[in-house]
Symmetry: D2
Subunit: 158 residues, 4 copies
């Protein structure tokens, strides 16, 4: 029955220009989230957003992209569903609200805003090679640890 | 391959307090959209939003609810996925942007705003027992006609 | 003391491409609002938005423009203050929330959305050569009548 | 002529629960901004937001508060103008977009989000007893230094 034993939503946030190592880390995060039955939510564009969606898709899971634009033209090709919001960077709030927990992989200024918004609305944040914010976020050393910590945090909340 | 032959998104909008006839009309719209392979998008709450999601679910299709709140507590039980935005009535913009076409079933003031926003961002609007706005919307007399017109409008766009 | 006997905020909404008669009607609305001590709020761009701000400025009053963009580059030159929101058409919600009452002058789809949003959040709407929405809005035949009705509606609310 | 030699907008962000020292620091920032002819923009509520508006008002300047709510009921009493947005924490984007520069005084998670959003949309950020983010923000040791740095940053931009 929906709402009772439902899959956790994991928002994966990070830079839209990530390539190389960060891209692979985010892809692994997406894969592991999907393997554990979680739903990946992201900002729908390229870089970390694409990588997380790709990892989820490769593991047979679902990935939802929440876009800043009025249309889905820039949606990456690995999303199960795309949600154009038309609200620009305010869509960052929707991304983190849609996660029961947030995993930040790398990240630049948009990611910093998402971490702040996530904490503001009460979502736990797991950071993987991301902003150093002291005890406000859970620091993970690997995708595996990040996803374990994320699922642990969701269990704590639900 | 995603992005090439993808399913159309149909945003179904209408009053959150609809019951009886309007509820059944929206449920039928949701069912018909799903049967034709479309994805239902809605505001995620009760009334027409619930009915459209329910119809889609009953036909084995997908329904995504985009919520005004910061959490998914008020999401109806028929959604495949829920997207809390934290942006209040501004989520109406995300609902209509997420549709390739919008079907309005009945509706009060929020629905009127969604019709205006949809037209503003270039989405065709099909109205079923909804606001009378002259030639600006396509008026349909039944769920069947509404969904046919909606899919026809999407083909015209894509 | 602020908050007790404060000036009413009047949101003036309408097409960004209005010229000629509609422009002059909106300018007169802005002038009359300012002469009665009201504050004009608008969407900050051209057309009706510029005209209302211009009328207010010409009468020595204040006009605040709430812009869809991330910066104030497109703000019209008659605003006392400009508020870039970065949220695209979602700024329409801020425009109507910022008015204690809304006056629609002419108007296209964006205006229709603003009327819907205004009614949704409980703001009375006065329509001057705008959308015909039956008894849901107060229809005025002139700028003078529109402003009288608007101030009357605010008194009713406050 | 507006738009040519205009006053700079300074967004002052910080915790809504600040009292004591942080409140007085923000009040001094608001006062100094106003004395230099700047316009204070803030989130419109209590704590640092109130203090900055109060300082500006006490120096005879203008303060604009951009509120998360649909109405202005929670606006602090020192604002020249209040802008209810109805978009919840997404109003943080409007606050920082409305500043040509952002001064963060103390601050909790909402402030962190505002710093991230400000940097994302290209606004320089001056931090006074706020988040330690390395070279991404300009750290100031006093209200006087914060305002000098803020006006210096605006000159650099304009």
């Amino acid at each position: 029955m929906p709402g009772v034993n439902r899959s956790p939503y994991v928002a994966v946030v990070g830079s839209g220009t990530a390539t190389g190592e960060l891209y692979e880390l985010a892809r692994e995060v997406g894969r592991l989230v999907a393997e554990r039955g979680g739903i990946v939510v992201c900002g729908g564009l390229s870089g970390v957003m694409e990588a997380a969606a790709r990892g989820a898709a490769e593991a047979g899971g679902a990935a939802i992209g929440i876009l800043p634009d009025e249309d889905r033209g820039r949606a990456n090709l690995y999303l199960s569903y795309s949600i154009p919001t038309g609200t620009g960077q305010a869509r960052n709030l929707a991304v983190v609200c849609s996660g029961d927990v947030v995993v930040a992989v790398g990240g630049e200024y948009g990611t910093l805003s998402e971490i702040g918004l996530a904490l503001k609305v009460g979502r736990p944040v797991v950071a993987l090679k991301s902003w150093d914010l002291g005890g406000h976020v859970v620091v993970a050393a690997s995708p595996k640890e990040a996803v374990e910590r994320a699922f642990g945090a969701v269990r704590g909340v639900n």
